[in-house]
């Protein structure tokens, strides 16, 4: 009897907390599905029928001072994919080199990369901005993406993974006369797939969610991502006689959907990557 009460109380508590966490999202969903004037005197409890219409409206009609939402979502997608893909392209060969080769300067290069574990982009954004500007990379994809991937978290992680690689496989490969590139592409990479997936998920979210850095390096609206553009959209929506919160919430839902869906769909890899300490 007592055991059952504890059990019910535990589930009730957990459900309350889960509901509290989800409340802001549910609210956004309700507001986005009603016309703005319906929420003036109090937000309805249940969703209305205008969600599709509102989503369609924000995609088709740009807010004053912002590009179309399709452009912003596309910019976000490009940023997220580029950060994830280039992170892998840079870090996998680098980690492979420091683990599987002995060459002059190996340790210097390793420590050079290792230092970067120290400072997140939020700490070094000011000098990094100056360098990016000096190189003429403001308002370019290179200036947007490269400073975000200039850290060694992924190299560090891949190195740890490669070090646990079975010695027998490497020996067998060497005896068979397989060259280093073929060894990487036909044996190492296929076995590293879970680690690759974990890093991809984390980096995709990291790239999609960037706010400060895109705000600094992109001054032309055409380059705006949906995450950095939300403040401009909020102030534009508030300049109407009736604040267009229904449209703001529609944009917010579209902007948070991709990273949340990625986490839900790839939860196992997400947890794995998070535990490994990537960004």
């Amino acid at each position: 009897m007592k055991k059952n009460i504890v059990k019910v109380a535990r589930h009730a508590t957990l459900i309350v907390f889960a509901a509290l966490l989800a409340a802001p999202m549910y609210l956004a969903f309700v507001v986005a599905s009603h016309p703005a004037r319906d929420t003036l005197s109090g937000v309805p409890v249940l969703p209305g029928g205008r969600l599709g219409a509102n989503l369609g409206y924000v995609v088709a009609h740009p807010f004053p001072g912002s590009p179309s939402l399709a452009t912003m979502m596309l910019n976000s997608l490009i940023l997220a994919l580029a950060v994830a893909v280039f992170k892998l392209i840079l870090s996998v060969p680098a980690a492979y080199a420091v683990t599987f080769f002995r060459f002059p300067g190996r340790m210097i290069m390793f420590w050079l990369i290792f230092i970067t574990l120290m400072l997140p982009v939020e700490v070094r954004f000011f000098p990094t901005y100056q360098v990016t500007a000096n190189l003429g990379l403001l308002n370019t994809q290179g200036g947007l993406i490269l400073p975000l991937i200039a850290s060694a978290t992924a190299v560090f992680l891949f190195r740890q993974y490669f070090q646990s690689f079975p010695q027998e496989l490497a020996d067998a490969a060497r005896l068979d006369g397989i060259g280093p590139i073929r060894f990487l592409t036909t044996i190492v990479l296929p076995l590293a797939r879970p680690t690759l997936a974990a890093i991809f998920v984390l980096e995709f979210i990291y790239g999609w969610n960037q706010y400060l850095w895109p705000l600094l390096v992109t001054s032309s609206p055409q380059h705006s991502t949906v995450v950095m553009g939300i403040r401009q959209i909020i102030s534009a929506a508030q300049s109407f006689a009736i604040p267009q919160w229904d449209l703001v919430m529609s944009v917010a839902l579209l902007a948070l959907l991709p990273p949340v869906l990625v986490v839900l769909a790839m939860q196992r890899w997400f947890v794995r990557g998070l535990m490994a300490g990537i960004d």
Binding site: S91, I113, F126, W245
Partner: protein, 291 residues
């Protein structure tokens, strides 16, 4: 595992792109910031001369000390509260049966919400005129207007940060709890320890390394990761009540264009981050040692 291949040029070529990116966008800016922190440009911004510690002197003005206080309070509150909530939730979820995976999903998704978008949701939730949260507070007799009240703006930024950070903490506490052998807890039960005693005397000490790790991660996230939330909710205001060190650096460097001052503030942040890195490595090593 010992190195396998004996090539010399190939590994250099493989590592070169990573090194080039790190040197150009990490080492060079950091070195530049170090130099500029000790130089002052003249009134027309045409030349710069060595100025010793003058920039650090002007960095440590009244506003900076307020920002130190705001940052410290913000870090302490968000770290302690989000850790408390997520540890509680993780312990409860571990004791559930078949529904455990469902609860896990329900408690980790907020991590994926972009900070600025989470802020937009909360901005409406507590919008003084129409926000349901604001109305609820008004009904409780609170005069809610975070655009005017520094305390309220600060509380809102804290609550929002806790909302996001608890998801991250939950992942680590769940993993930490799972790594505790059932036999240890069962032994304590046989010895007659109640659930509360079991938690504080057996489970919590075994979680020690995880708690330390999560503490350092939360401190880092609070110190450096709060820009988007603050920029959308309050832009550092009212009256500097939500101006953290990172937000102040943004304002001095980009809105006021004071390169020397921003360089000195960057250096102070570097020192802070470096000190935390040392702590982080100690914590990280202990964690590895325990597992």
């Amino acid at each position: 595992m010992p190195p396998v291949f004996k090539h010399r040029l190939l590994p250099a070529a493989l590592i070169l792109p990573e090194v080039v990116v790190v040197v150009i966008f990490f080492i060079w800016p950091s070195g530049k910031a170090l130099l500029e922190a000790f130089r002052q440009s003249n009134a027309f911004g045409l030349g710069a001369r060595f100025s010793g510690l003058a920039n650090f002197g002007s960095a440590l003005h009244g506003g900076y000390l307020q920002a130190v206080e705001v940052t410290a309070t913000f870090t302490a509150i968000t770290t302690l509260v989000s850790m408390g909530i997520s540890l509680f939730l993780a312990v409860q979820v571990e004791s559930t049966g078949r529904l455990r995976p469902v609860y896990r999903t329900l408690f980790i998704w907020t991590y994926a919400v972009p900070g600025a978008i989470g802020a937009a949701l909360w901005l409406f939730l507590f919008e003084p005129k129409v926000g349901p949260g604001a109305r609820a507070l008004e009904a409780l007799g609170v005069h809610w207007n975070f655009a005017l009240s520094g305390t309220q703006a600060f509380a809102l930024v804290c609550a929002l940060t806790i909302w996001q950070q608890s998801a991250y903490n939950f992942v680590f506490f769940s993993a930490g709890l799972q790594s505790i052998p059932d036999a240890v807890v069962e032994a304590a039960t046989m010895d007659g320890a109640g659930p509360v005693t079991r938690f504080w005397k057996v489970v919590f000490p075994l979680l020690g390394p995880t708690v330390l790790f999560v503490t350092v991660s939360d401190v880092l996230a609070a110190l450096f990761g709060s820009f988007a939330v603050i920029d959308v909710i309050s832009q550092g205001g009212p009256g500097g009540s939500t101006t953290t060190l990172v937000y102040m650096l943004y304002r001095d460097g980009f809105q006021n264009g004071d390169v020397g001052l921003a360089g000195a503030e960057s250096m102070l942040l570097f020192v802070l981050a470096g000190a935390l890195l040392v702590v982080q490595f100690k914590v990280f090593n202990r964690r590895v040692h325990y597992r």
